[in-house]
């Protein structure tokens, strides 16, 4: 019969399945022998960590949903019941709550790796854009998830952020009413946020699959930013990177455990322990820490629509990053003029985070505007200009040149195409 796969496995059960649906062959190809650059540093762990984190969030989330009641009259108390009466409910809740923070820590570092080493540049532009889609989906999921406990900050954060859409002329108010399902954030809003919060992680899984597919077509970038030239430049993913990822996972779990067991509410807001009250606004409405830089950008513009556009713009600008950066060199290791600016960007974003946590008064307003300006300057002005004028350091001949020794299999399709090393 045409179409049956010729399986290389010897175990009869595996062979039977693999002949009819070559999942084992696929796993062996994509995660077993897959030729991976031999010079990864630990920054390359963070994609795998993000995948592990997503699995943890989905599993804990499904179990939490067994006891959560998505109704304004019961939501807060149902979460407390999980914390107090359900066996190990406190553990699953704290893992899920702090898992959101860990997810953003991991993903922000993962993004930094991409920025620093030029992983967004040819031929990985689509990979990068899929990544930005993943980030936006993550942010939507986290935003809706935070509303579910129906505390003061859940309610007022939802109110502030959904109200932003009214900034759009003509369509703004109808959109907000449509989002709410009523005249304010209330039970219909909570219910639909629960439904979508349950759905989006599975969309994330699907888009992650696309992300990995795109990655496996081009092959991974590496700290030198130069293309793989020969099998000597690579190692099979298993066992070299399966074990290295295992080390990373242990460290990641230690950080996670320290949060969950010893400081589970450190990153949270005390106001969310007060049930939502539409008649009382907390003294300071603050989103979770991972949204603070965007919150600061939003508030740095005195005009409501302007602030909304800048906030969304800060994400949209990431989409076009591959075309903004004119440098022919990928890795910042060889871009001495550009490198300090990346650190200025990181510092700016950190300062924006602090700005977002404070009331918009005094020095914080100035800092917010300066750093917002720098953020857009960095992407829209500096990246195009620096690439044109920079004299990059000489690139090494190949990844394996300094190191003797073999390893690795055939090159992944497409990786041996145009090498990027002309100065």
């Amino acid at each position: 019969m045409a179409g049956l796969h010729k399986s290389e496995f010897t175990n009869p059960v595996i062979r039977w399945v693999d002949t009819r649906m070559p999942v084992f062959t696929m796993m062996q190809k994509e995660y077993g022998s897959f030729p991976t650059p031999r010079n990864f540093n630990y920054f390359w762990n963070f994609g795998a960590l993000a995948m592990v984190n997503l699995m943890i969030m989905i599993i804990t989330g499904i179990f939490l949903a067994m006891n959560y009641a998505p109704n304004t009259a019961m939501a807060f108390d149902s979460v407390q019941r999980i914390m107090r009466d359900v066996n190990y409910g406190w553990l699953l809740r704290y893992v899920h709550q702090n898992g959101a923070s860990m997810f953003f820590i991991v993903v922000y570092i993962h993004i930094f790796r991409g920025l620093y080493y030029g992983s967004y540049k040819y031929p990985r532009e689509l990979l990068w854009m899929i990544g930005v889609v993943l980030l936006i989906l993550m942010m939507a999921t986290a935003f809706m998830g935070y509303v579910l406990p129906w505390g003061q900050m859940s309610y007022w954060g939802a109110t502030v952020i959904t109200n932003l859409f009214s900034a759009f002329p003509i369509v703004g108010d109808p959109i907000v009413t449509w989002l709410w399902g009523g005249f304010s954030v209330d039970n219909p809003t909570l219910n639909r946020f629960f439904s979508l919060h349950y759905l989006l992680p599975f969309v994330l899984v699907g888009v992650t699959f696309l992300h990995v597919v795109a990655l496996h077509i081009t092959g991974s970038n590496n700290p030198l930013g130069i293309d793989v030239k020969s099998p000597q430049d690579t190692l099979p993913f298993h066992p070299y990177y399966t074990i290295k990822d295992s080390v990373g996972i242990c460290v990641y779990l230690m950080v996670f455990a320290a949060l969950v067991f010893f400081a589970p509410n450190f990153l949270g807001d005390p106001n969310n322990f007060i049930p939502a009250n539409p008649l009382q606004t907390p003294a300071d409405i603050v989103p979770e820490w991972y949204f603070l830089p965007f919150y600061a950008i939003l508030r740095s513009v005195p005009n409501k629509l302007g602030g909304v556009c800048m906030m969304f713009g800060s994400l949209l600008v990431l989409f076009v990053l591959p075309w903004l950066d004119t440098s022919k060199v990928r890795s910042a290791r060889f871009r001495p003029l550009y490198r300090p600016f990346i650190f200025v960007l990181v510092v700016s974003v950190v300062i924006l985070g602090m700005v977002g946590a404070h009331r918009p008064e005094g020095i914080w307003v100035v800092l917010g505007r300066v750093c917002t300006a720098y953020y857009f300057l960095h992407f829209l002005v500096l990246l195009p200009i620096i690439g044109k004028f920079e004299r990059p350091l000489p690139l090494p001949e190949s990844i394996s040149k300094p190191v003797l020794g073999g390893g690795g299999g055939p090159l992944p399709a497409g990786a041996a195409a145009k090498p990027m090393e002309k100065a």
Binding site: Y240, A257, A258, D269, V346
Partner: protein, 260 residues
């Protein structure tokens, strides 16, 4: 052999600082009241645990003083097993409270002695009744008050012991009391504890200071009943993960020994 360049180390350190800065920056609040002084709590720190004798005394204070105005709706009498009460003691404590017990055969609401499965008796049936009795103010439910205030135990202790005469230039609104640590300094609650409000078994000290400490311990437990277990499990988990990190790293070095 992993080459750790200076550049790399600096970059990692910068990221660590960045994360730390964002984390520390997160809980920034308006300065409307002084930061309460730090106290020593037995539950602080990675090896912290509740002093159950103190928690029990704090429950006695809640029962006799605070529960006249403050509900604790998230707690049930059976939860008191977590602070060391026996099933008989729990039954007795529960039975000493009269709570709504459903409907009689005519469909009329009835009351009776609480069961272990009953919620803590609330002083008022609903918010409106509470406000009516309290001159418009609502005494907050205390189940999560420890978590719901930024400085947690230090704040509650400072509040309970922070009543004083108002400074000469402050105009107090009608029915309000001056408190050094309440945001805005004007609190509707009159000073609830003065020392000697409750007599404890074994003649444990019942000065204002001692009572306030006991109340904080009880409220800390009420907000986080799982805390002692959580920290005990946490120590084991982190140690186990540290061991696994070492083991996996050793295996990693082994596997990579032929790659460099």
């Amino acid at each position: 052999m992993m080459r750790v360049s200076v550049r790399h180390t600096l970059r990692t350190a910068a990221l660590a600082c960045a994360l730390g800065a964002v984390a520390l920056a997160a809980p920034a609040r308006a300065q409307e009241a002084p930061v309460p002084p730090k106290q020593n709590w037995s539950f602080n720190g990675p090896f912290g645990a509740f002093d159950m004798a103190s928690v029990q005394r704090g429950f006695a204070v809640y029962q006799n003083v605070c529960s006249n105005c403050h509900s604790m709706n998230l707690l049930h009498y059976r939860d008191l097993a977590g602070i060391g009460l026996t099933p008989e003691q729990i039954k007795a404590v529960a039975a000493s409270f009269t709570v709504p017990l459903g409907l009689d055969d005519q469909g009329q609401p009835i009351e009776g002695p609480a069961l272990p499965s009953s919620q803590f008796r609330a002083p008022f049936p609903n918010e409106k009744a509470a406000r009516a009795a309290m001159g418009g103010a609502l005494p907050p439910d205390l189940s999560l008050i420890f978590n719901a205030r930024e400085y947690h135990g230090d704040y509650i202790y400072a509040l309970l012991t922070g009543y004083a005469d108002p400074p000469a230039d402050m105009k107090m609104q009608a029915g309000m009391h001056y408190n050094k640590y309440f945001p805005g300094h004007q609190i509707a609650m009159p000073q609830p504890l003065h020392g000697g409000d409750v007599s404890f078994p074994g003649n444990a000290p019942n000065t204002l200071d001692a009572e306030a400490h006991d109340v904080v311990n009880f409220l800390a437990w009420a907000s986080n009943p799982e805390m002692t277990t959580r920290k005990q499990i946490g120590v084991r988990v982190v140690l186990f993960l540290a061991l696994m990190t070492g083991l996996t790293y050793a295996v990693k070095r082994q596997i990579w020994s032929d790659a460099h």
